[in-house]
């Protein structure tokens, strides 16, 4: 495993994923990735999950199927992805070309006291995604790899999966709105649905 201090900074990683976002739609998972996205700049086209652990990838799938004209990026943490591991099998069957799932893997449950996650000990998320049928996967350990993936989100012909090695730390929380109805309604308005 890569030494913690050599892993990517989560806030910088989120900024890189979103710096040329164009009309990208973003779904973030319960916990730190929601704070990371808010820190990168709140946007009506971000749908932040504050709960429903394990749902991020599937929200992304439903959105990607509905909006085949737009690119959809899900960014979630290793613990959140592990709770919805079955959804990788479900997405592996569908593989909409406009969906990318990125997992910020710090190998810990950061919101609950930094307990080790399964990704720290045994589970290789990229191997799981490949075994579930994802045709293009990324195991990202540096900024160069992250920038390659960030560009690929906008033109890939198949669903992407990326595991991004993130430093286990706890930057100050940046909280986006947490009213679910507001988040839903502003997302639909900003994307021309309502």
């Amino acid at each position: 495993m890569i030494a913690n201090e050599r892993r990517l900074d989560r806030r910088a990683a989120m900024r890189i994923l979103l710096e040329s976002r164009s009309d990208l739609l973003l779904v973030t998972g319960l916990g730190s990735t929601t704070w990371d996205a808010a820190a990168a700049g709140d946007d009506d086209r971000n749908f932040y999950l504050w709960g429903a652990m394990g749902s991020a990838a599937m929200v992304g799938l439903g959105l990607a199927i509905a909006r085949s004209d737009r690119r959809v990026l899900v960014v979630t943490d290793d613990g959140e992805m592990l709770m919805g591991l079955g959804s990788l099998a479900t997405i592996g069957v569908q593989r909409p070309p406009n969906l990318a799932v990125a997992v910020f893997d710090n190998a810990h449950y950061g919101e609950t006291g930094m307990q080790a996650s399964h990704a720290a000990e045994a589970v290789e998320l990229v191997a799981v995604a490949r075994a579930c049928g994802f045709k293009e996967t990324f195991d990202i350990i540096d900024e160069l790899g992250l920038r390659d993936f960030a560009a690929r989100i906008h033109d890939a012909p198949t669903t992407l999966f990326a595991r991004i090695a993130i430093r286990a730390d706890d930057p100050p929380r940046v909280l986006p709105p947490r009213d679910g109805v507001l988040l839903k309604t502003r997302f639909r308005r900003a994307t021309g649905i309502d």
Binding site: V27, F47, L49, W50, G51, A52, M53, G54, S55, A56, M58, V59, G60, L61, G62, L63, A64, I65, A66, R67, G84, G86, S87, A89, T90, V93, Q94, G180, V181, L183, K184, F187, R188, T191, I193
Partner: protein, 178 residues
């Protein structure tokens, strides 16, 4: 009035499918169930419907939320035992007031052979109501389509979560010994 021959009586499953089509359902998430077999087949064969097989029912709750964010209507097909798998995920539906329509094939009630189906089957309605879903139940074939249509109406007109329980007596008990 002359009675219709059996072949001319519309099947209630086909009528439910027609109700889904009339409501412009574009995504259907399902965990395979014998009681939903015909409906699943119809959804998979329809070019306007994106049918998504799920590994577990809670995935469908999240799928439906994503569909709605993208401007599409979704419906979920599951067995009563799968309702238990959805409980925490229904917090997403409630907190964000997402519309939701779950069609639930009941097990563990009428003439059930397998007692392992009974704990969840006997608590399906209570569990859904505890999560603030509006719950409708179908006992007779002629009620099926109109009940589903009513659930679709109230769900998508009012951003409300609904479930239609298709009773085991309606579906017919699973045959264990052939």
């Amino acid at each position: 009035m002359q009675a219709l021959a059996a072949a001319e009586i519309p099947d209630w499953r086909d009528e439910i499918f027609a109700a889904l089509k009339a409501a412009e359902i574009r995504q259907v998430g399902y965990v395979p169930d014998a009681g939903h077999a015909r409906l699943i087949e119809l959804c998979c064969d329809d070019p306007e419907i994106h049918a998504v097989p799920l590994t577990s029912e809670e995935e469908g709750v999240a799928l439906a939320a994503g569909a709605w964010l993208g401007g599409q209507r979704a419906a979920l097909l599951m067995q009563s035992s799968g309702v238990g798998n959805c409980i925490n995920m229904l917090s997403l539906t409630k907190t964000c007031r997402f519309p939701l329509v779950m069609l639930v094939a009941m097990r563990g009630e009428w003439a059930e052979f397998n007692p392992w189906q009974v704990p969840m089957g006997s608590k399906t309605r209570a569990a859904l109501e505890l999560c603030d879903l509006l719950v409708y139940r179908v006992e007779q074939p002629e009620e099926a389509a109109e009940t589903v249509a009513a659930a679709l109406d109230i769900a998508f007109n009012g951003d409300l979560a609904t479930a239609v329980l298709l009773s085991q007596r309606l579906i017919g008990s699973k045959r264990w010994v052939k």
